[in-house]
């Protein structure tokens, strides 16, 4: 596999953007995340891999407190973004989510026009001073979502009418429109065909310029292609975390090796 040659990939060290320490998550009686501590760097793509049900998506949803919307979910431990404890009572989860954008597994454009989909975040957060300002934000976001050329002539057509890959890029554009600092992606390509996947992956690599991107993926090739750092989760534990090249070529934990060679999953 060509993609495995990333050992030589140049990885510069960045500042720590998200610092998680001893995070535990309980869903009712289920202990979903056990003692996870991880430092996620700024301007880096970090991939979470692991078998289904290992808690990688759950952990991702802790970072923007999306788990708050689930009644039975309890999160303990310490997660800091820019040294600010996000579970501090003073932090408004709504504000936090504006700063930590999220892209979901299934493209979920609102049943509104393409324009309104992208303008949704800026509107509720009052990011635009006037109409032309909003137009600029929408155009910039769509360009950053690598979909501007395809939709610029039909901004007022419904977002649900786009193809799956276009919808997902629209959702990414919608997420970047609120100017987040961190972008969380929960299996963003699992509902897409290979061409759309390639487009989104390319986009993720470009997004690294401005954001700290955390991506959950089931495809190890994808993790190897797009990420600089990889974390391997297994049964709610963070088994191994390190440079992507090192995880895929020279894992230290036997469980990681078993997983990436396809023996557990």
């Amino acid at each position: 596999m060509n993609d495995m040659r990333i050992v030589e990939r140049d990885v510069e060290t960045n500042d720590v953007k998200i610092a998680a320490k001893d995070v535990q998550v309980h869903y009712g009686d289920t202990h979903a995340i056990k003692d996870v501590s991880v430092d996620i760097e700024d301007k880096t793509v970090t991939a979470f891999i692991g078998p289904s049900g290992c808690g990688k998506s759950t952990f991702l949803r802790c970072i923007n407190r999306m788990n708050d919307t689930i009644d039975v979910c309890r999160v303990t431990g310490d997660i800091r973004i820019d040294d600010q404890d996000i579970y501090d009572p003073k932090v408004d989860p709504v504000q936090l989510r504006a700063k930590v954008g999220m892209v979901f597994q299934k493209p979920n454009p609102f049943p509104k026009s393409i324009y309104d989909n992208v303008a949704y975040g800026p509107r509720i957060h009052g990011l635009a001073k006037n109409k032309s300002d909003l137009d600029d934000i929408v155009e910039r976001s769509l360009r950053r979502g690598a979909i501007w050329e395809e939709v610029k002539d039909r901004l007022h057509a419904p977002g649900t009418g786009l193809s799956g890959g276009q919808q997902q890029r629209l959702c990414i554009a919608r997420a970047v429109a609120t100017e987040p600092e961190v972008l969380l992606m929960d299996e963003p390509c699992s509902a897409l065909d290979p061409i759309a996947t390639a487009q989104v992956e390319e986009l993720i690599d470009e997004l690294r310029e401005n954001y700290s991107v955390v991506i959950v993926t089931h495809s190890m090739q994808q993790a190897a292609r797009v990420s600089q750092k990889t974390a391997f989760f297994h049964l709610g534990n963070l088994v191994e975390y390190g440079e992507t090249g090192q995880i895929f070529t020279n894992p230290t934990d036997p469980r990681t090796e078993s997983y990436i060679t396809g023996r557990i999953g």
């Binding site: 919307t69 709504v94 989510r97 299934k106 609102f110 949704y120």
Partner: protein, 490 residues
């Protein structure tokens, strides 16, 4: 043999056929059910089906056709008599039927023998007195012709039911025997039963459809009849509703506009109450309430839908009306002169409609995918922003559908109007005045001493037709919107 016995016998034949058909199929396979094409149950069911379905079909047709046939024969036998003034053949026939029924009762109670009933003549007996003795009161003494008709009637009916019984039994036995003979290992009983089920389902569906069509035609013919007697333009554009109460002889003003106005005004107030309350409670229940609260509150709201409308009517008459009078009556503002008013009926009807709006809207809001909410929360929207800007727009077509269904319910409501809004047809803007609706007037035109040939009674059908067209239009519109909504997520 009476009808219920006949049905029981056919069912017994079917049960026997079931057991025998099953046994025969098993035997043909040498007792090994795996060698059969279908499960043994299907062979039994097949035989039972063949026993029941054709027999009952014939029975049903016979029961519908016999009275028509007997009537025409009796009429033919009476064709030589002259009908007295102010009477009609229909009245004579109803006399005939009444005497025939009376004779049946008399025979049953042992007041006379079967032969006596057949050979009875008006010269020998006072039939009016005789039937009065067994509890059948007749309006006048029986003429020889009517008695003759009644005797023919009884005779034909008697023959008819004997033939029917025999025919039905033969068909049941024949059907069972036919299916029994076919019950062997290769026979595809399962497929036949499958077809039988299809026929059952299709006939159930067609009963509903055919009834609708039947009602529509009944309305249509009577409406046409009405417009023959009363000018359509006066009906549709007349602003005065004043039917004469003498029953006959014109001078009635039958303008539909005051009733239409009352209907719309009351429905409008009802929706003004029901839509916000119902919608907000639906939003609370589906988005904010904890599962515990929801599991208690939702059934409680739905109980409102189970209260009979007459109870709502009493509530309007005895509670809401007096309260409104004490608030807006002549002691305070002087807007309201009595408890029955558009406002009273509208408010109570609104309460009745709350569960319609809330229950349907709740289902529709729940049908909005969680992914929409996640997407919105993930962008940093609050709960109410998410509801206002994502969930409600996504659910809007469905909610509009729910509101339109509630509206057609409001337009068709009668009891609350009769008790809450009064009976005066009026074109007025004041919601504290008594008004009335189309449905309430249909009731008042048809109850009491109505001559069904007069425009005053026939107008009820024209009103019914107007109402039917209105609610049908609303329902079609609602269905259209609901269907459009469905396409969005599939």
């Amino acid at each position: 043999m009476s009808l219920s016995w006949l049905i029981l016998v056919v069912l017994a034949i079917a049960a026997m056929g079931y057991v025998m058909g099953r046994a025969r199929a098993l035997k043909s396979a040498g007792g090994d059910s795996r060698a059969l094409h279908s499960l043994p149950v299907y062979y039994g069911t097949n035989v039972a089906m063949w026993a029941i379905v054709p027999a009952f079909a014939v029975l049903l047709v016979w029961l519908l056709a016999q009275p028509i046939f007997v009537n025409s024969r009796v009429l033919a036998s009476l064709s030589d008599i002259t009908v007295a003034d102010g009477s009609s053949m229909g009245l004579v026939m109803s006399d005939v039927r009444r005497v025939a029924d009376g004779l049946d009762v008399a025979v049953q109670q042992g007041a006379m023998t079967v032969d006596a009933a057949r050979t009875l003549t008006t010269e020998d007996t006072d039939i009016r007195e005789l039937l009065g003795g067994v509890g059948v009161a007749l309006g006048s003494s029986v003429s020889p012709d009517v008695l003759r008709g009644a005797q023919t009637y009884r005779q034909l009916t008697g023959i008819g039911s004997v033939v029917m019984t025999a025919l039905v039994l033969i068909i049941a036995l024949g059907g069972a025997a036919f299916a029994y003979a076919r019950s062997d290992a290769d026979f595809r009983a399962r497929n036949v039963v499958e077809k039988g089920i299809l026929v059952l389902l299709v006939s159930a569906a067609s009963i509903a459809v055919l009834t609708t069509i039947g009602i529509l035609f009944a309305l249509l013919f009577n409406t046409i009849e009405f417009f023959r007697l009363y000018p359509a333009a006066d009906f549709f554009f007349g602003t005065k509703w004043a039917p004469s109460f003498s029953g006959r002889g014109g001078a009635s003003d039958l303008g539909v506009l005051p009733l239409l106005w009352g209907t719309f005004y009351i429905s409008f107030i009802a929706l003004l109450v029901a839509v916000p309350v119902g919608l907000f409670s639906a939003i609370y229940l589906s988005e904010y309430a904890s599962p515990r609260v929801r599991s208690i509150a939702k059934p409680l709201i739905e109980i409102l839908a189970g209260i009979p409308t007459i109870v709502y009517g009493l509530f309007a008459l005895l509670t809401v009306g007096p309260i409104l009078v004490s608030m807006f009556g002549k002691d305070t503002l002087g807007w309201m002169s009595g408890g029955t008013a558009v406002m009273t009926a509208g408010l109570v009807m609104g309460i009745m409609l709350i569960p319609f709006v809330s229950s349907l809207s709740d289902d529709i809001i729940n049908a909005v995918p969680q992914a929409m909410r996640d997407g919105s929360y993930g962008l940093g929207a609050t709960q109410s922003e998410t509801i206002r800007q994502v969930i409600l727009p996504a659910a809007l077509p469905g909610i509009v559908g729910a509101i339109l269904l509630a509206a057609s319910r409001a337009i068709g409501e009668t009891m609350i109007v009769v008790l809450g809004a009064g009976a005066a047809a009026r074109l007025s803007l004041n919601p504290f005045e008594a008004m009335t609706t189309i449905t309430a007037k249909i009731v008042s035109q048809l109850t009491g001493d109505a001559d069904f040939a007069s425009p005053e009674a026939l107008v009820a059908f024209a009103l019914g037709m107007t109402l039917f067209v209105l609610t049908l239009g609303l329902n079609i519109f609602a269905l259209y919107i609901v269907r459009k909504y469905r396409e969005q997520y599939d």
